[in-house]
Amino acid sequence: MTATPLPNSTPAAAPAPNRLRTLRNLILSQEGILLIVIIVVMVVVGASKPRFRAENNLLDIFQSEAYIAVAAVGMSILIISGNIDISVGSLVGVLAILSATLSVNGLPGWLCWLIPIGVSMIIGAINGFLVAYLRIPSIVVTLGMLSILKGGMIIILGGTTIINMQPDFFLSQWDWLNIPTPIWLMIFATIIGALWMRYSSTGRSIYAVGGNAEAARLSGINTRRITITAFVINGLCVGICAIMYATQLNSLQASPPVGLELRVITASVVGGVSILGGIGTVVGSTLAAILLSVIRSAMIFIDIPASWINAVRGSLILVTVLVDILRHRQMDRH
């Protein structure tokens, strides 16, 4: 991202060798800490407020930020590749409107989902092309794309509310095995994303390119292709996120969801993805999205006004980054 070489950033923070991978390391990994914090918050708040641990509320906690988690899977992969996308909020807005409009015009549900996802992947490919071949920094490309999408959306629809979608459209409102579809989508996206990043050669290459693009290129990786792939995968996840967002209510406001990209990037960063690229996991970002949702729900139950949620989000990023820096210093000392 930033080309300035930070003196105290350990390149690609080499994970400890396998023989040292004791239980302690697993617990002290970003994912382990997040899981522990989630459990602690849920136990503490649940013990004092029984309604917090009611089944309805628990399902609601996991469901309400599921679309953030799905977008964060893509964002994490993109940030690991050394890029970023700040246009996610506008893109989700445009795709949601497109999807709902298709349904109002009588297209079957599955087409209303697949077409926006395809569009999203094409936009991802365009972003990736501009970054990989024309060497425009991703933050600038997606800043431009943000304007184009935001303006384009308002031209098309001018702040109306869309209603009268077909009954076969509302994916997010369905259940499977008594669990709402958003939770399933979040689980599937996370598992597939995690396995793909860990075991596929493309996934490994994304880590390599994000860690050190020049070294990756010299070792025979087609860095341009990898960059475009990361953007297309991000497009896929944003597309799914948009469908989840569009189908959760019976009406859809034709305005971009405010601050959505910030929530997605927050999930990635709190989940342990390094903004410098090359480090992080998809599981971490999903756990972070869940943690943010747990905290938001807990705040309501312990009577903290919801208007403080952004302050909590910001503090959480800061705490994560500081803990990470302290951990690295400790590692350097050993």
Binding site: M1, T2, A3, T4, P5, L6, P7, N8, S9, G82, I84, I86, L130, L134, R135, I136, P137, I139, V140, V141, L143, G144, M145, L146, S147, I148, K150, G151, G152, I154, I155, G158, A213, E214, V258, L262, I265, T266, V269, I275, L276, P305, S307, W308, I309, N310, A311, V312, R313, G314, S315, I317, L318, V321, L322, I325
Partner: protein, 333 residues
């Protein structure tokens, strides 16, 4: 990453080596586009090139312009500040809160609010310099944090009912020119001179080109960086005060998305997002271009929101053209 592949520009200065060099500078290219654009737009509507309209656009431009000056410094050093919009919002809220809820006289509340905003910028700089937090992450965190503080403190209540003198800065004129435009012009001249003519300014370019090298050559990198992030907080706070004075009320969502407008103007003005090159003049042209483009197009009957699309397209195109020119001149040099 890509910085090693690009030819390092000598701070986009012509260096007096031929007229082609000057012509191919981003500022010149932008200025020509700006002039052509203004001429084209003025043929579409006679309301565009009037004194009233231009001055009014200057009024609207001031807040973005004030914040764009330190942003130019920061991006030249290879950093970024995403929290400026939130600092603006926090300042606005603290102004109203200090006055109405804490019982300060309005003058004191203004100073207090600007001090809070400046401190917010200092916090950014402190974490970035002392703890080595990447600027993108630090200011992303405070983008959420400062906005969250503004929302939490204000509890969605707005403060109105300011006395008449308070509106001098935001709504009245001084010598026939909007008051805040004077502030903007003074800020632009000072920052322009500081960047181009002082050792501090040269130091910022050095940091952006090679931070480690700058440190080894005796530039106080940490102090310079702390200074520019604090300065960024101060200017965002000043912009917040002007904003409140202009719209006569405080709300916690003020300045949302300001960072993107500011960064777009700075980058459009030829400052490399990788650091090491850029000028205040370029940023000013970038600012005017975006503002006049939006205004001219809407006066010419283009629906308001199409102008945002065009700004996005112009942004990407201008970077592409600039990259292309840089590569050509880099190859021939």
């Amino acid at each position: 990453m890509a910085v090693s592949e690009q030819p390092i520009q000598p701070a986009s200065r012509p260096g007096g080596t031929g007229i082609m060099r000057i012509l191919l500078r981003q500022e010149t290219v932008l200025f020509i586009i700006l002039v052509i654009g203004v001429l084209l737009l003025s043929t579409q509507t006679d309301k565009f090139l009037t004194k009233d309209n231009i001055l009014n656009q200057g009024r609207l431009l001031t807040e973005v312009a004030l914040v764009a000056m330190p942003m130019t410094f920061i991006i030249i050093t290879g950093g970024i500040d995403l929290s400026v919009g939130s600092i603006l919002g926090l300042t606005a809220i603290m102004l109203g809160y200090g006055w109405k809820n804490m019982g300060m006289p309005l003058e004191v509340a203004i100073v207090f609010a600007i001090a809070v905003g400046t401190f917010a910028g200092f916090v950014n700089g402190f974490f970035i310099v002392r703890l080595g937090v990447p600027p993108l992450i630090m200011t992303l965190a405070t983008l959420a944090l400062y906005r969250g503080l503004a929302e939490g403190i204000s509890q969605a209540r707005s403060v109105r009912g300011y006395p008449d003198w308070f509106f001098q800065l935001g709504q009245k004129d001084l010598a026939g020119i909007p008051t805040q435009l004077w502030v903007a012009v003074i800020a632009i001249i000072i920052t322009g001179v500081v960047l181009a003519r002082t050792t501090f300014g040269r130091g910022l370019y050095a940091i952006g080109n090679n931070e480690l090298g700058a440190r080894f050559s005796g530039i106080p990198v940490a102090r310079f960086k702390l200074l520019i992030y604090t300065f960024s907080g101060f200017m965002a706070a000043l912009a917040g005060y002007i904003y409140v004075s202009r719209v006569s009320t405080t709300r916690s969502d003020m300045g949302t998305g300001l960072e993107l407008d500011v960064i777009a103007a700075v980058v459009l003005g030829g400052t490399s997002i990788f650091g090491g090159s850029g000028t205040v003049l370029g940023t000013v042209i970038g600012l005017i271009m975006i503002q006049l483009l939006k205004n001219g197009l809407s006066l010419a009957g283009v629906k308001g929101d199409a102008t945002i699309v065009i700004v996005g397209v112009v942004l990407i195109l201008s970077i592409m053209v600039n990259n292309f020119i840089q590569r050509r001149t880099g190859a021939s040099a």
